[in-house]
């Protein structure tokens, strides 16, 4: 009967952990069941293979400790570099804008200094000593005479004062 097959027992527990009574039961069953015999042989071979594999142990080489410590120092260095690059990534726009601002301020300072110095306004009015002569008729501000016209009016005997007024 299928229920009596020992396959389930072989899967539930390691072959090495089976009791003597359980092993006897397995052997008795496999003597009459070729299907379970193959399963039992495979389980035995599996356990042997695993035990042989477990016996393979690589020993640490003599300078392993030094190698690990060097790797740790290297890891520390690279993590510092990584941290700096992360900070730089974050601060880059700020630093760039600050740099641009400094450049702008320097440029403004430079261009301001290179222009010729302008004199104060009161000095300029003193130099402006020859303004165009204008005689303003106090009665009519729109009626202006130039200097030569005024001389003509004053010294031309042919002209009378009334003509000069245009009357």
């Amino acid at each position: 009967m299928k229920e009596n097959h020992i396959v389930n027992l072989l899967e539930r527990r390691s072959l090495g952990s089976l009791s003597v009574a359980e092993l006897e039961r397995v052997k008795a069953h496999t003597a009459a069941c070729p299907e379970c015999l193959l399963a039992y042989q495979a389980a035995q071979a599996s356990l042997l293979l695993l035990q042989e594999r477990a016996s393979v142990i690589v020993e640490p080489p003599p300078f392993f400790q030094t190698k690990v410590m060097a790797a740790i120092r290297e890891q520390k260095l690279s993590s510092k570099r990584l941290r700096f690059s992360r900070v730089w990534q974050t601060a880059r726009p700020l630093v760039a804008s600050m740099g641009a601002l400094v450049v702008l301020l320097l440029a403004l300072t430079f261009f301001n200094n290179s222009e010729p110095p302008t004199e104060p306004s009161n000095v300029a009015s003193v130099n402006d000593s020859a303004p165009e002569w204008v005689i303003v008729d106090s009665d009519d501000a729109g009626d202006e005479m130039t200097y030569s016209q005024a001389l003509t009016v004053l010294y031309d005997p042919t002209m009378e004062a009334g003509d000069a007024d245009g009357k």
């Binding site: 899967e11 393979v56 790797a71 120092r73």
Partner: protein, 204 residues
């Protein structure tokens, strides 16, 4: 004169190492390298792979040193890191396709034939035969998942108690039992296939 660190307890060493004392951590590496190599040897066969995995384990231990609160043993804590690191490394590496099992070298086939012939383990336990058996074990285990491989090596090969396996892997005890049950079946089926082939064609 002996180094005072050699006399220090695990907890003292861990505390010193947590305070970024490199020499204390170097002492931890010296003390537990054999144990870490033993765990890594369960997962990897090549010396270079075992060494790389062990270095990775100590690097992870150094990075997570602040997590060790001294409740359990330092060895247990390191074993857990070693187990999970190796499991992750194994998961990351490519699994061998199952078809490779069919192409068995002559020496490994002979080992199976001897087993089928009922030659006792003691009789064919020479160094050479052991290596062939270990090679065959690697080939069979290579067809299983890393979790299956881990549980078979710890529970069946090392005969570790379920509770300790649960502690080393971070799995629950019931998960370890179920995983072991399924892994045994898968390994047995893989070996059964090989045995069937050898029974049908013993000369090949």
């Amino acid at each position: 004169m002996t180094d005072p660190l050699e006399q220090a307890s695990d907890l003292e060493l861990a505390k010193l190492a947590q305070e970024t004392d490199e020499t204390a951590f170097a002492e931890i590496v010296r003390r537990y390298s054999p144990r870490v190599f033993q765990v890594a040897s369960r997962f990897f066969r090549e010396r270079s792979q075992v060494e790389d995995a062990s270095q990775e384990i100590f690097l992870r231990a150094y990075t997570h040193l602040a997590d060790y609160e001294g409740r359990g043993s330092l060895e247990g804590w390191l074993t857990r890191i070693a187990t999970t690191t190796c499991l992750n490394l194994l998961r990351a590496s490519q699994r061998r396709p199952e078809s490779e099992l069919a192409e068995m070298p002559e020496a490994e086939a002979e080992w199976l034939d001897n087993h089928l012939a009922g030659i006792s383990a003691e009789r064919h336990r020479s160094a050479e035969k052991s290596r062939e058996a270990a090679d065959l074990a690697d080939r069979v285990l290579g067809t299983l998942s890393p979790d299956d491989r881990l549980v078979l090596m710890l529970v069946d090969a090392d005969e570790m108690p379920i509770k300790d396996v649960a502690s080393a892997t971070g799995w629950s005890e019931s998960k370890v039992k179920v995983q072991a049950f399924r892994a045994r079946r898968r390994m047995r089926e893989a070996v059964e296939k090989l045995l069937s082939v050898r029974k049908r064609n013993p000369s090949k």
